[in-house]
Symmetry: none
DNA sequence: ACGATATGAATGAATG
DNA sequence: CATTCATTCATATCGT
């Protein structure tokens, strides 16, 4: 895996209208399942790791999917599932690697953020697009919001029989933002026109 | 084409191939996917066929992987995937063996697979009228299909950027809001963003 | 070398 | 949320 981007996905913002409703000519081109575009994944991860979104509610899902729609066909449920899965797998990974009693759901300390990541060429050096205002409720303590990315559980155990993983720094600013609307206006400005997909992966993985 | 399958590689049963201490330029994480050793496969199958293990949980996975580690490098996820795949493929094989007239199974091609695939619960094929119908009963045809209803994913969100006075999907649930406390009241809706309401499908849901 | 196959890995979609 | 199913991609390995 590493850098080999990969996987299956294209479907740029261009409309592919597969669900057109008509009898898709027997072609099975109509992939039944949503295949996020690179940009969509990027944004989703930003929301997840940077903004700390974990379980968006209906309204948020709508906004998110509306935003992502600029990069490709997408429905609300896709966003919903994406977050569900992403969170679940992050958790799962943790269990498999070492079922460390995941508790200490107290306040995380800044140090947690810096927890080194695994040795990877790509570190999380995301060009923080100046995100500033963040408003996201949904506390998600769990002391570790593993910001590491690539794909879950990937790094092999370094030492023989050793326990590894350093769980990465998270990001999340669970500042209980009650009532205020959603402030997804943070780095709302992604290249609308999508001039050039900066494949600069803050998060290498493909997703 | 009975079972001439499996068992290809061997890989030195001993030795943790890579990741070892010295790591012969093996910094790359999992550059190569896990290739179970013969012993590992044997044990895994014993667990699967004899002990009936199908979906080991976190603890079991760790246990198993710990045991298999004696025979070669392995991670929890490998065990997890192994069972997932093994079960899935066994299931698949069974389908092709039973659901197809036991005759010309001389050599089916992967394309044949695509014949089964039962429908999805909900189809997202027809454009909805935009009406806010709430409970979509759907055709269900397979014994235990859960009935689904419209879920909150697709509930329209008020205006983009607009102040959402009351009602509307003004995301304002406190973080401690368990259960989907969707509260948007359905008062008229408007297509936000994108004037192209392509097939906004009725969503399924799990109550 | 290649192509087919087996299977590891990833992840969307559901269900409970 | 936890679990599981379904699909699909990627690749190790083998047959020819």
């Amino acid at each position: 895996m590493e850098l080999q981007q990969q996987q299956h996905q294209q479907q740029q913002p261009d409309e592919d209208n597969n669900g057109g409703g008509k009898g898709s000519f027997l072609c099975r081109q109509t992939s039944t399942r949503w295949t996020p575009t690179a940009d969509q994944v990027r944004i989703l991860k930003e929301l997840y790791y940077i903004k700390g979104v974990r379980s968006p509610n209906g309204a948020e899902i709508q906004q998110i999917s509306a935003r992502l729609r600029k990069y490709g066909k997408i429905e609300g449920k896709n966003v919903f599932y994406w977050f569900q899965n992403h969170k679940a797998r992050e958790r799962q990974k943790k269990i498999f690697t070492n079922e460390v009693p995941m508790q200490q759901r107290t306040a995380w300390k800044p140090e947690d953020y810096y927890s080194y990541k695994y040795s990877n060429r790509f570190s999380s050096s995301f060009a923080n697009t100046g995100a500033v205002t963040v408003g996201q409720r949904d506390f998600h303590g769990y002391g570790s919001v593993t910001m590491q990315e690539k794909t879950f559980w990937d790094c092999p155990v370094p030492a023989p029989g050793g326990s590894n993983i350093g769980a990465g720094g998270g990001s999340m600013m669970s500042n209980t933002n009650y009532g205020s609307g959603i402030s997804y206006t943070v780095f709302d400005q992604e290249q609308e026109a999508d001039a050039e997909i900066e494949t600069l992966p803050l998060f290498p993985m493909h997703g």
